[in-house]
Amino acid sequence: MTAAISPAVPERTGPALRSNLIGRFWLVAALLAMIAIFGSLRPEMLEPGNVATILRSFAIMATMTLGLTWVMAAGKIDVSFMQVAALSNMIAAALLAAGHGWGVASAAGLGAGLIAGAVNGLLIAGLGLPPLIVTIATGGICASIAAALGKGTSIRIAEHGLLTDLLTTNIGPFPLVLFGVLLVYAIAWVFQERLTFGHYMYAIAQSEEAVIEAGISSRRLLIMLFVLTGGLSALAGLFLAASLSSGQPMIGASYFINGLTAVLLGGMMIHIGKPNIIGTAVAILFLAVLASGAALLGWADWKRQIIQGALLLIGIAVAVRANRKKGGHHAEAGL
């Protein structure tokens, strides 16, 4: 682990930085354009209250997808993240309903997420099982436990806790939780860009054998990534419990497509064809603004779902083309 966080060799960042500006920042431009269009059609979009709502859903979603971004950057996939969030959400709600405080409830929820992540990591990295099948199965088990905790329905949460304050207190249009998430993303960016941790992660996607031959424990790095995904998904589940004042066993469904869309769309900027956290963050904001604008314009939810699915398809197609031009093929590896 010490080897994985030592400073990176500087010349390796060279080629990635030489990509042109349009290719790297088009998503930011698209985001600004969309804000301008929605803002002119529906001025209430830009009111502080609505901005705070958008940023709150951004913060929750960003928490959930940080680990997922890195798992996908390493060429693996995790489709259990939203069910892990639902599990931690229901565990916290059930413990709160049983009279335990937010402290115990949060710790138990987080613990469940870390365990789920460790199981995923051990089965996928340790035994080399296919990531899709393993995470479908662990996700199904988590969803089942989550539903069983509430006997198939949701659990109301009466008690307010620290997390509730974090989510509902705003400084101007900025919810407090946003600052925490931005800080985490800033630290994560350093890990991804400036430390060997990030280089090994992308190297695993290119050739896991080569990484192992180079004497790096890809297994330990991958297990770490899956545990991180499980823990952060569980944290997002706790945020959702606090923000909705209830435990919802089916909470994950709507976050599933959004999460994957965000990671893949985000992979179209900064390092084209590689999932990266800045791209993910911009893409999540893009999707959150789209959701808010669609709601204000009165679009049905299924129309947004179709648009998002189409965006995801376009994103994949662009990534594959970009990779083919460079002669690489890592977007296809493991996916």
Binding site: A143, P249, Q305
Partner: protein
């Protein structure tokens, strides 16, 4: 496929499977005597028909070594298409035909995007599945469609019987028989396997591997549509999430079957479907709440993958060979 010395091939595996079924059936009957009743048997064969058709389609995709996560969404869209056509007063065969057409188109889109344009299978099918699930709302804005269902004759599909078996079960066996002949007795089946096992040498042997990959995705989508037709016949209404529950049992059936029979094949999927349907049905009969079923199927799936995994099998093989040291040089 992967050869293992752990279990005997052919007859031995079938015997082991039948033994497992007998043990499970005995346990369920001891827990709940109704398990052996005629009513339960006919319910089981009906459930098996829907899961089995979806799993058969998925088998093709798994044989060409790809994954498809879109078929549940496609099934939802096809269900609403069929419901809309029935409500519009169209004849039943036109309605079902339009549903199958939805499956063919969706499968072709997946297949061409993945095989000809080289898009990654998992993410592409997640996207198309999501689009299809959204399009299921197109006809009624999400409301349940039930008009004309009683007069259209689709309900009869559920109630009709042939030789004491429900029509859906007979249909399932017929389709599996056709698929078995295609996959295991013709060169087309061999081409599917070759595409999955070694696409490069298959390509240079003159097999159009891209076409076979695309066809596998079409088969998968059509299988899911046929499954949802049976679900429509049973429920008598078309709902936007009518096909959503097909995903998990199909994956579990394919991978559990492969673990039982030592490789992905039509018969392996059939036995996997049978075992999973029996387990789900038995647990439901014993009074287990519905929300445990996903967990049970997932646990079975995980167990199946662990057994199927070559590394885990190697470890087990080594253990067996350590205990019974003979004929070691037959492998690798």
């Amino acid at each position: 496929m992967m050869k293992s010395g752990l279990l005997p091939h052919g007859a031995g595996r079938v015997l082991a499977f039948l033994g497992l079924v007998a043990v499970m059936a005995t346990l369920f009957t001891l827990a709940e005597p109704r398990f052996l009743s005629q009513a339960n048997f006919s319910a089981m064969t009906r459930h098996m028909a829907a899961n089995g058709l979806a799993a058969l389609g998925l088998t093709f995709v798994v044989i060409v070594r790809r994954f498809d996560l879109s078929f549940a969404g496609v099934a939802c869209f096809a269900a609403m298409t069929i419901g809309f056509a029935i409500a519009g007063g169209l004849p039943l065969w036109v309605a079902i035909g339009s549903g199958i057409l939805v499956g063919v188109v969706a499968g072709a889109v997946n297949g061409i995007a993945i095989s000809h344009f080289g898009l990654p299978d998992i993410v592409t099918t997640i996207a198309t599945g999501s689009i299809a699930a959204g399009m299921a709302f197109l006809y009624s804005g999400g409301r349940t469609i039930f008009q004309n269902f009683f007069t259209s004759g689709i309900i009869d599909l559920n109630d009709a019987r042939v030789l004491g078996f429900s029509v859906s079960f007979v249909f399932l066996i017929a389709i599996y028989a056709c698929a078995w002949v295609l996959m295991h007795r013709t060169r087309y089946g061999a081409a599917f396997y070759a595409t999955g096992e070694n696409p490069v040498s298959a390509f240079y042997s003159g097999i159009p591997t891209r076409t076979y990959t695309a066809l596998a995705f079409v088969a998968c989508a059509v299988g899911a549509v046929l499954a949802v037709v049976l679900i429509l016949a049973e429920s008598g209404t078309a709902d936007t999430n009518e096909g959503a529950n097909l995903l998990m049992p199909a994956y579990a059936a394919v991978f559990l079957g492969a673990a039982l029979m030592g490789g992905t094949s039509v018969l392996a999927t059939l036995s996997g479907t049978f075992l999973i349907t029996m387990l789900l049905d038995g647990f439901a009969l014993a009074g287990m709440p519905y929300y445990y079923s996903d967990g049970i199927v997932s646990a079975i799936l995980l167990g199946g993958v662990l057994l199927f995994d070559p590394r885990v099998r190697d470890i087990l093989d080594d253990a067996v060979r350590f205990l019974i040291p003979k004929k070691t040089e037959t492998r690798r």
